[in-house]
Amino acid sequence: MDKSYILFALEESYNKADVKDSKLINKLKVEFLGKKGIIATEMAKMREIASDERAKFGQEINAIKNKIECFLGQKLDEIEQIELTNRIKNEKIDITLPGYNYSVGTLHPLTLITEQITKIFKTMGYSVVLGPEVETEELNFEKLNIPADHPARDMQDSFYINPQLLLRTHTSPSQARTMLAKNGQGPIRIIAPGKVYRRDDDDATHSHQFTQIEALCVAKNVSMSDLKGTLLMLAQEMFGKNAQIRMRPSYFPFTEPSTEVDVTCHKCSGKGCSICKGTGWIEVLGAGMVHPNVLKGCGFDPEVYSGFALGLGVERFAMLKYGINDIRDLYTNDIRFLKQFKGEK
């Protein structure tokens, strides 16, 4: 018996119903597929059918049932999709309202610069050493070839605690400490970041407390060529691949030869501007070959070992790199100032 009339009935009911939501689909489901639905009624007729035709009858009904399920399923999907689209349309929010204000943390710019420089030196095989800020005269001066009468030791320029003790004026005593601990046996590759002190009144370019990073390399056959390579690496990592360096002869008691190091002005790329006073160069640090008296005084034989040292001002690097005009900004910790370093690595 042909049962396709059921499908026609479904189609007719569906079209008549003008389906707009899923409720009607569900109603049709009950009407056709429910316990008392048309299919169930048809199935009930099974018993009345001769046993040899039952299988065929069953198959036919099942096929129709599948078609109905498939049809209604498909329609339900369509309706649900429409319903979802409508719901989404009504769920619009004002995206211009402000987001939450999370408290976002930042590292201090002096830490950022110190970390950047430390990282560069670590890739070159340097370890970090930290020395005390309250230092002996002997390590701060004597061991660094700064004799008792030297102007640098003037009481006016340093913060003394007593005649033997002072706040270190540079991170260089870390050199002496490291060398003395090594008992004349190289090689040494260290960097020493830390706070240092000078008896200066604070103004836009001076700070009684500031931060230095000292690097020291002592080994056999270390030359000024090695120093230059190291400086170039540092300059290019910090100020860009095109940065060049210029070494000018200078003087520090603890190095011989000594040099002041300039790096290509980052603002004008060396063309000359107001930042570099038209020279194209900006002075960034002091360096040199470790003075034989320092090597000797710290237990190294200057005829066997040589070395280079460099010292740089972290504040100066920070000011150059971030365009900070007043060194005191680095110590005031205005939260609006600090927040600007959010994105910095």
Binding site: Y102, L107, I161, I245, P292
Partner: protein, 790 residues
């Protein structure tokens, strides 16, 4: 140190073809840092003109109408100077001139009279007034007709427009306080010759009566008779001013010139004013009037040159006015000596009197220069016929002789240190450019270069003349060392990471603070005090980071920045101890969104949570440490809202709400601060991580509410739950603390969620019931009554 082109051209014959910029570049590469270059006087379109006629201005009593001849035309100009007169040679700024300060000269009408330019004074050309005579300060400059002609460029003829180069000398190059030495360096660089002066022979008369001080190694006096004090030959117009010295009488001028060609300052006295024996002493105290008309007091230890009981000069610093050479002087005494630099520095520092002489002695001059200065002075004086006596003799105490210093030329070592391959012959040439001679492998150091002592010093000489630019940059192939990270370094990094990710900003503050602050925030430690602080606000090393963080909060709050979460890691020093500490301070909110009525205000627990995170990041789980209340009498932390963290026997951290008394001082409320002693913490052992197997049997969670007395702490109840729950309780979470309706006064309700599990099996209903009963019993013993039923 100032040096002018005018001076350099006088001593280096062929310098004219070399630009000032080239000279500056040379100086820089030689290690003599150029700080600035300026013109002694400047202006464009200037010409030497003759005043042909001067008439009164018809409409002004102070102005004159002049007719000047510029060599190419006759021009009418209105002039306001009183000293202008017909017949004078003047500096005339023509229409179109631009004078210093971008002052443009235009054709104009002054009170109805046409004026086509300006007759200039020297100040209008930018000359500092300290170099000007009273006449020159008052009016227009009248030029010397023997030197200038109409039509000349007034800046060129007498050197008025010379470039002045300011050099910042490094301490080792005190030899370059001698301008002639700078000329020699420049000449060497450009392969030019320096026209030196032939030193005169000195007739030495030895004496043993001059020096009565250990701070003077050589002292000499040379007397000149019938000195021509008004002679102008030493007063070569702008030479001295362009080098920074005022023109004076011929004796003072010659002394100054000697200073910059020999490097040692010499003094001149009026010989006829000296009554007794001249002696150098340092055992005198008294007062005198200096050449600058100011009174100075001399203390024991200061080096003085005495005439009997009268001070002739504060040695090497300033002369006494009483002995000054002036226009009535007939005979002069010239003093050349070597004084102890440290002593001069002390005296100059005390008096804050840094004269040119003092500066030179302080920077260190060589004893060997004394002889040079005597012979230079005599030579120059005799060249200009400044005195009239047959034989000049010099009374000397001390040794004038110089021991020639030599150093072996270590070619290989020098190349190795510089990283160069300079052949010996080239190295000798390089050294000769800066005055070193090499004979048979021995380098003879010029006597003025007392900074050159060892072969490494020679390496610097070779390097700077060779040019540091020519040294090749190479990546060090020297032996490598293992990179070591200290526990401190690692810990600091971890702390920064965790705190920044929790929304805190790192700050950096000063270590020096006031004694009062250090005492208030310290623990009665012995302070590290500066012997001479710059201010009482920065007089001792801080004993805690906290007060500086409070300052930061105060600064920001007063600038309407109300949400502050900050930390600082720093070494803290007390006598005999250096400790690494971390301080945290919180104020205001951490998350907020006003329009959503959402905010999280910082409180005791936000701070506690931060310390928990820091400790856990460093490997210390909550089970490793315990909390105690701060002492009732604590001055910094609110006793009711504060805690101390102890690890083993060590108290490592105190934190909590800032004590109201301190809040009042900083005028900010609701601040939460804490400080942790990282040095102590890092001494504690951290056990390595051992992974606990994840329990595969499902556990249960059950909420309890207990009524407890107000002063019962949650930890007491949690502890009881853990005891009652035996080993089955895996976690207890505080869900709510409630006071108010339905809870009688003096009590509170604590709601807790208990997690329990057995890692060998799933708990049965019976086991769960037994467990819960056991928990309730245990809590009852601890003073908590179950609200409702299990």
């Amino acid at each position: 140190m100032k040096v002018s082109r005018l001076f350099l051209e006088q001593y280096i014959g062929d310098l004219k073809s070399i630009s000032t910029q080239e000279i500056c570049d040379a100086l820089t590469s030689l290690g003599l840092e150029v700080e600035s270059v300026s013109s002694f006087a400047s202006g464009s379109n200037l010409v030497v003109a003759k005043v042909l006629k001067k008439d009164k201005h018809p409409d002004s009593s102070k102005l004159s109408v002049c007719l000047v001849d510029t060599g190419t035309e006759e021009v009418q100009v209105v002039c306001g100077a009183q000293n202008v007169d017909a017949g004078q040679l003047v500096i005339f700024a023509q229409v179109g001139s631009i004078l210093p300060g971008n002052f443009k000269i235009k054709k104009s009408e002054i009170r109805g009279v046409e004026s086509n330019g300006m007759i200039c004074s020297l100040s209008e050309l930018g000359v500092e007034s300290k170099f000007l005579s009273e006449e020159s300060k008052e009016g227009i400059e009248v030029l010397d007709s023997e030197l200038y002609s109409v039509g000349d460029d007034p800046l060129v003829v007498g050197g008025l427009g010379t470039d002045v180069i300011e050099i910042g000398l490094t301490p080792n190059r005190s030899d370059c306080h001698n301008a002639l030495q700078i000329a020699k360096e420049i000449a060497g660089f450009f392969n030019l010759k320096v026209e030196g002066i032939d030193p005169a022979r000195i007739n030495i008369v030895q004496s043993k009566e001059l020096i009565k001080s250990s701070k003077c190694s050589v002292f000499t006096l040379t007397e000149f008779f019938n000195w021509n004090i008004e002679d102008k030959t030493t007063n070569s117009e702008w030479l001295l001013p362009s080098m920074g010295y005022k023109n004076s009488n011929s004796a003072v001028n010659l002394g100054n010139i000697t200073g910059f060609i020999s490097g040692i300052p010499v003094a001149v006295y009026d010989a006829d004013k000296v009554k007794g024996n001249v002696v150098v002493r340092n055992d005198f105290s008294g007062k005198f009037i200096g050449l600058d008309d100011k009174e100075y007091s001399v203390e024991l230890g200061d080096i003085v040159v005495m005439d009997g009981d009268n001070i002739m000069s504060l040695a090497g610093i300033i002369g006494a006015k009483e002995y000054a050479v002036n226009s009535t002087t007939i005979n002069i005494i010239m003093e050349a000596a070597h004084f102890n630099d440290v002593s001069i520095r002390k005296t100059a520092n005390r008096l804050q009197l840094f004269t040119d002489a003092a500066t030179r002695f302080m920077k260190g001059v060589s004893k060997s220069q004394v002889e040079d200065s005597i012979s230079s002075f005599i030579t120059l004086a005799s060249q200009s016929s400044l005195y009239n006596s047959d034989v000049i003799s010099t009374v000397v105490q001390g040794d004038l002789k110089y021991d020639q210093h030599t150093i072996d030329l270590e070619v290989i070592k020098i190349n190795k240190l510089l990283g160069t391959e300079i052949p010996e012959t080239d190295m000798i040439k390089l050294l000769s450019k800066v005055g070193f001679t090499v004979v048979g492998g021995e380098v003879f150091v010029p006597k003025i270069r007392h900074d050159v002592l060892v072969w490494q010093d020679l390496a610097e000489e070779v390097g700077r003349v060779y040019g540091y630019d020519n040294i090749v940059a190479k990546f060090s192939d020297a032996e490598q060392v293992e990179v070591i990270e200290s526990a401190e370094e690692v810990a600091i990094k971890k702390i920064r990471d965790i705190l920044v990710s929790c929304g805190l900003s790192e700050v950096n503050t000063y270590q020096l603070t006031s004694e009062m602050t250090a005492k208030t925030f310290g623990n009665n430690e012995e302070l590290i005090k500066l012997s001479s602080p710059l201010s009482s606000e920065r007089a001792v090393m801080r004993t805690s980071i906290v007060p500086q963080l409070l300052e930061v909060i105060k600064w920001n709050v007063s600038r309407r920045q109300n949400n502050i979460s900050i930390f600082e890691i720093s070494n803290i020093y007390t006598a005999g101890r250096e400790e690494l500490k971390l301080a945290i301070a919180l104020h205001g909110k951490t998350v907020n969104s006003e329009w959503q009525k959402l905010e999280h205000k910082n409180n005791f627990y936000s701070l506690k949570g931060l310390f928990k995170e820091v400790l856990s990041k460093l490997g210390f789980a909550e089970t490793r440490y315990f909390l105690n209340r701060v002492h009732e009498s604590d001055m910094i932390i609110h006793p009711g809202i504060g805690a101390k963290i102890s690890l083993g026997k060590d108290e490592i951290c105190t934190f909590g709400k800032l004590h109201p008394n301190i809040e009042n001082v900083y005028k900010v409320n609701e601040i939460f601060v804490g400080e942790i002693n990282l040095s102590k913490l890092l001494q504690q052992k951290v056990s390595s991580i051992k992974v606990k197997e994840i329990n595969s049997f499902q556990g249960i969670e059950k909420d309890f509410s207990f009524k407890v007395k107000d002063d019962v702490e949650v930890s007491t109840i949690v502890k009881a739950i853990r005891q009652g729950g035996k080993k089955l309780v895996s976690d207890v979470v505080v869900m709510d603390i409630y006071k108010g309706e339905n809870i009688e006064p003096g009590f509170k309700s604590i709601m807790l969620r208990v997690f329990a599990e057995d890692n060998t099996k799933t708990l049965t209903n019976d086991e769960i019931t037994t467990l819960m009963q056991s928990i309730v019993v245990a809590v009852e013993k601890a003073g908590g009554n179950l609200i409702g039923k299990i």
